[in-house]
Amino acid sequence: MEQIAQKDIVISIDNVSYDYRSNSDEFVARGVKGVSLSIERGDFCVLLGRNGSGKSTLAKLLNGFIVPDSGTVLVNGIDTKNDDRIYDIRSKVGMVFQNPDNQMVASIIEDDLAFGPENLGVPREEIEERITWALETVNMSEHRKRSPNKLSGGQKQRIAIASVLSMLPEILILDESTAMLDPKGRAEVMETAMRLNKDKGMTVILITHYMDEAVGADKVFVLSEGELIGQGTPREIFRDRELIKRAYLELPIASSISLELIEKGYDIPFALTDEELVEGICKLK
């Protein structure tokens, strides 16, 4: 417990509920219900849940797009209900969305990267430095003066990440940013997010319904029907078959095979990745 107290909490959500309502205050859809969680600085967190589980609602709450009906959301200690400081929150919480085409404002990549810092009133010379840095970070420097239209989905999404990085956020939220991509594009985006977390110490919150993207996470949160039904390390979550069933998720092949084998009485360790599974099976007599 002492160790947890020492760690720096960047986001804390306390008993938050939110329902979507129409203009005439009629109930339209459930968002989230009684969710409490906290995220530590420098963690790679994954929010897992199927469509309609409330995971995107949670993302919108983190950025102050919507404010909770009850409960509080604190980002860096600032309440998202505080309208005067909403841009302090949004510049620190960078958000990348699902469709890369719908989040680019400019037809030239460097102009798109400049948009965020321009809005924040960052001096010209510094914007220049930030663009160079952000493009290097996502390995897209050679595309600086080009149009985003000819890029692949994965490349477009990396540009979208760079456009958010140029605001120098402390937290990066990827709201289903891999959902529209092919396997290669998904791998590119995942690799970029992982690298940002490991090398730059950025807090990353990845929202997805692919369990295999949660394998390398520090912490996994599982949402179902708007409620937080489980949290822990990937190893803890992946082993909990009951939980996964309740969340309507699908275990990665390696984990489900190793679970089957363990249940059949084979002496192998629980595997998260293909490599671990192969290693476990090879060690069998």
């Binding site: 400019a106 037809s107 321009e118 809005n119």
Partner: protein, 270 residues
């Protein structure tokens, strides 16, 4: 994918590309006004030469500039035909019932076609050599006086920039929707005008729905990137008028004078 030349930037680092967007905008407007004042076929010769020179200096492939005409060819033909019969002055070449083709009509038709073609060539040269962002920044800067009477010039500039950015995306979407409808037996290229127009309805409705959905997501993305966070917004690309702009203005000025002079037979050449 159909060829959408208009509004497409052709990357290069030529002298024309480096000119200030504001200078290019004003010079293009001056060029267009001039083209519409010319009514002497001889005066079009320097216009062609000028367009060719600018194209060569800008290193945009000549073919690309010519292709921009393709988009308006229908309008050019239609307008020419209407004008061919509208003007009944001069020598009569051919006549039937109330229609007649006269030398005056032929002249107006050619004049109009050339005007439209030069207009499109001139403005597509502008969009080929200027990024949409520079263009909108330039417009914003030129609209500065309006800001004093509280016109949100910056918002207008952003709207224009987003519109330009989404032209190719929506075009692609039209293609996809049309293919999807064709796969389900829709037919877009048969029947009369009305039938064809009606056939486009199942394309337009999904297109609008998707455009609104995109607008919704884009609005979130703009907010996420702190749009309107501060009134003291900075500009990454600060355009500065340089010597090149002065030279370009002078050259264009000389050229316009030349064209007007030829047009009005200043030297008594003919």
């Amino acid at each position: 994918m159909r060829d959408v030349s208009f509004g497409q930037y052709y990357p290069s680092n030529s002298v024309v590309h480096r000119l200030d967007a504001r200078a290019k905008l004003l010079l293009t407007i001056a060029f267009i006004v001039m083209v519409f004042l010319v009514d002497n076929l001889l005066a079009y010769i320097p216009v062609v030469v000028f367009i060719l020179l600018v194209t060569l200096v800008s290193r945009v492939p000549v073919l690309k500039v010519l292709k921009s005409i393709k988009a308006i060819i229908f309008i050019v033909v239609l307008m020419s035909i209407i004008n061919l019969f509208a003007n009944a002055e001069g020598e009569v070449y051919w006549s039937w019932w109330r229609l007649s083709i006269t030398s005056g009509g032929v002249l107006t038709a050619i004049n109009l076609a050339l005007r439209l073609i030069f207009l499109v060539m001139g403005s597509s040269l502008l969009t080929y050599t200027t990024t949409p962002m520079e263009l909108t920044d330039g417009m914003e800067s030129l609209m500065y006086p309006l800001k004093l009477i509280k016109v949100p010039t910056h918002d207008i500039a952003i709207i224009m920039s987003i519109a330009l950015r989404f032209i190719p995306i929506l075009m692609e979407e039209v293609d996809k929707i049309m293919m999807a409808q064709k796969a389900r037996g829709a037919c877009f290229d048969r029947g009369g005008v009305f039938k064809r127009a009606k056939a486009l309805l199942p394309v337009l409705i999904p297109l609008f729905v998707s455009a609104f959905r995109r607008a919704d997501e884009l609005a979130l993305a703009l907010d996420a990137r702190c749009y309107n966070a501060t009134p003291n917004r900075t500009k990454y690309k600060q355009a500065k008028l340089g010597w090149g702009d002065l030279v370009a203005t002078l050259i264009t000025g000389v050229f316009i004078t030349l064209v007007v002079a030829i047009n009005n037979n200043f030297w008594g050449l003919y």
